[in-house]
């Protein structure tokens, strides 16, 4: 099982490097390197411990867009938090641009955005975007220019002096993305940033995120519940399974570079093929043994009910949860 995972990951990595284009050179360190990482929660007292991640390995090349997809409890958010050094692995190594995750956090090598925009309500939009710059003692004049640039990048030029409660959910999320980009990180970590948005806003935000990524050339690790979202955005889709959280498969999505992707892609045959491939990996992939096999038998029923989205926003995959 472990060997298979490792093989799948490595294979995917190679394929994706090709897909990501010429961004990866022989000398530059990977944006993210996760090797043999496990995370076990709680084992205090009588409580049984929960293995959130079990021996996960993953590489993300500079400039590459990688999505983590899987049902609730598969450890995709945990993996993101480990990369962000908001949590520490029980075993295994994580490095970001060749440094330990902790060093990378202190050096501000990544920007992060969560499902909740998490803006400070007492700060204006501009002041919210400014916050990381302010904390790292960037001069006032420089801050103002940078905030102006970021506001136009996310299309909120006229909203700098508004307060978060005066914005819609989608606009708040755009502010959060601008804030994550404030220090021009080469890596963006996003935990279901569009999860709370309606479908139309969501698609528009996806288009904008692609444009922003093309402009900033940052690598992205993107956690999502939605198969089309993962396929539309990513060079590679990492499919995970729960209990214990493992990487089941890594699907390279050969749909061209970030800059070339656009609204038309949603109608593209290649898009549907990749959606099919990811869905298959999520529900029907023949994994040799263990709990995943039993999940396979109910997979098709669950798939039929759920459609393209693996989960309801709050929900769990019906097919698997019956175990």
């Amino acid at each position: 099982m472990t060997d298979q995972n490792a093989t799948a990951t490595d294979g995917g990595s190679v394929a994706a490097s090709a897909g990501a284009g010429a961004t990866r050179t022989a000398t530059a360190p990977d944006a993210v390197t996760v090797s043999g990482v496990s995370r076990v929660f709680g084992s205090r007292g009588r409580e049984a411990s929960v293995t959130a991640l079990d021996d996960v390995s993953l590489d993300v090349a500079p400039g590459e867009f990688v999505s983590l997809i899987g049902p609730s409890g598969c450890g995709k958010s945990t993996l993101l938090r480990l990369i962000a050094d908001l949590d520490q692995p029980s075993s295994g190594q994580i490095s970001v641009f060749g440094k330990p995750a902790r060093r990378a956090r202190i050096d501000q090598d990544y920007g992060i955005a969560f499902q909740q925009a998490g803006l400070l309500p007492w700060r204006t939009v501009a002041a919210n975007i400014e916050l990381p710059l302010e904390l790292h003692r960037v001069g006032a004049a420089e801050r103002r220019t940078r905030v102006g640039d970021l506001l136009s990048l996310v299309g909120l030029d006229d909203f700098g002096s508004k307060y978060p409660d005066q914005l819609s959910g989608g606009m708040q999320q755009r502010v959060a993305i601008a804030r994550a980009l404030a220090e021009s990180p080469r890596l963006l970590l996003m935990d279901e940033p569009f999860g709370a948005l309606d479908e139309m806003t969501r698609e528009r935000m996806q288009n904008e995120l692609l444009r922003i990524c093309a402009e900033t050339d940052a690598a992205v690790v993107f956690v999502t519940h939605s198969i089309p979202e993962a396929v539309f955005l990513s060079h590679r889709v990492v499919v995970m399974s729960p209990r214990p959280g493992r990487i089941v498969d890594v699907i390279p999505v050969g749909l061209g570079s970030t800059a070339d992707r656009g609204e038309a892609l949603r109608e593209d045959a290649g898009f549907f093929d990749a959606v099919g491939a990811v869905r298959e990996a999520l529900h029907g992939h023949p994994v040799s043994a263990g709990p995943a096999t039993s999940a396979t038998s109910t997979g098709s029923a669950g798939e039929a009910r759920e459609g393209a989205n693996l989960c309801e926003p709050s929900g769990r995959p019906a097919g698997r949860e019956s175990r």
């Binding site: 050094d85 969560f114 998490g118 916050l131 904390l135």
Partner: protein
């Protein structure tokens, strides 16, 4: 009316102020400022009407059930007319020649007590705030200090007042001499720090995990997180705590003035005038009005702080 009765009345009056203070912040979202003033005035008028109605209709010996007086006597001695109380404010304090009018004497005493209460409040807010920051920073501090903070409020004021006075009297630092009013301020702060420490602790711990992790992802230290996140987030919790602290400081000042025997303030005036109740039943009510006024001013001052901190209250759920 005896001294203890007078004191009880003061306490009851002050408690009424506390209740007003607690209810006040919910009202402004629904009712305009003008209407609020009007409704407040209406409440006072109704209170006066109920007073007079009972005085007119109630039995002269009060309502007694099983030997216990449930409602007071309605004689002029026990319940003077509202207009008598008001008229008394415009007469001289005493029959001594050159005595100032009552309202002036009460205002002077109120200002004196308000000053002491303000000092006590400031000290209480500082101490309570520091304790809250300490408890937020160190979880062991919370476990060690919080029970004592709560326990501290169960010690009766009457018990600590003489202690504070005695300890204070032993303090001589160069030219600095401990004045009796400082003992009163210390006792006021002893009451005021409690709501502030509890409210501030809740406020400092109020930010979402989301926000705390965001600050962590920025590699922001404890101090930056405190200044940029925890303190601003604590404002909606802090304001009601400050308001309660102000009311507590006023009560503490009035009661401590009596316990310590400090002259010049409302507390002392209540006791002195209560002794005159036999011949001049409206007289003891003047300092009680003064105590209410001090409470209102203290609460109003905190509301003013709230206006300046409006920006930090955007997160408050509109009623």
């Amino acid at each position: 009316m005896t001294v203890s009765e007078a004191l009880k009345t003061v306490d009851a009056g002050s408690v009424g102020t506390v209740a007003d203070v607690v209810e006040a912040p919910r009202a402004p979202r629904r009712v305009g400022a003008g209407r609020r003033v009007l409704l407040g005035a209406l409440g006072v008028v109704i209170l006066a009407a109920v007073w007079e109605l009972y005085k007119a209709l109630g039995p002269a010996d009060g309502v007694v059930i099983g030997g216990i007086t449930v409602l007071p006597r309605t004689t002029d001695l026990a319940m003077p007319h509202v207009w008598d109380m008001i008229a008394r404010l415009f007469e001289p304090v005493s029959s001594i020649a050159g005595a100032p009018p009552m309202w002036l004497a009460v205002l002077q005493a109120s200002a004196f007590s308000l000053g002491i209460a303000a000092v006590g409040w400031v000290v209480g807010v500082l101490v309570g705030g520091l304790l809250a920051v300490l408890m937020q920073r160190f979880i062991t501090a919370e476990a060690a200090v919080l029970p004592w903070i709560i326990l501290s409020q169960t010690v009766p004021l009457i018990a600590i007042a003489p202690l504070v006075r005695r300890w204070g009297a032993q303090i001589h630092l160069g030219t600095f001499e401990w004045a009796p009013w400082m003992s009163v301020a210390v006792i006021a702060s002893y009451l005021a720090f409690f709501p502030v420490s509890i409210g501030a602790l809740r406020g400092l711990n109020s930010p979402d995990t989301n926000h705390v992790e965001l600050m962590r992802s920025y590699a922001a230290g404890w101090w930056s997180t405190l200044v940029r996140l925890r303190l601003p987030a604590s404002v909606p919790y802090l304001l009601p705590a400050l308001r309660l602290g102000a009311a507590s400081a006023v009560i503490g000042t009035v009661v401590a003035e009596v316990s310590i025997g400090l002259r010049g303030g409302i507390g002392r005036m209540v006791v002195e005038f209560a002794a005159a109740a036999g011949g001049d039943p409206a007289k003891p009510w003047a300092p009680i009005f003064g105590a209410v006024l001090v409470g209102l001013l203290a609460a109003g001052f905190v509301s003013l702080i709230g206006v300046f901190l409006r920006r930090y209250r955007r997160g408050e759920v509109p009623a």
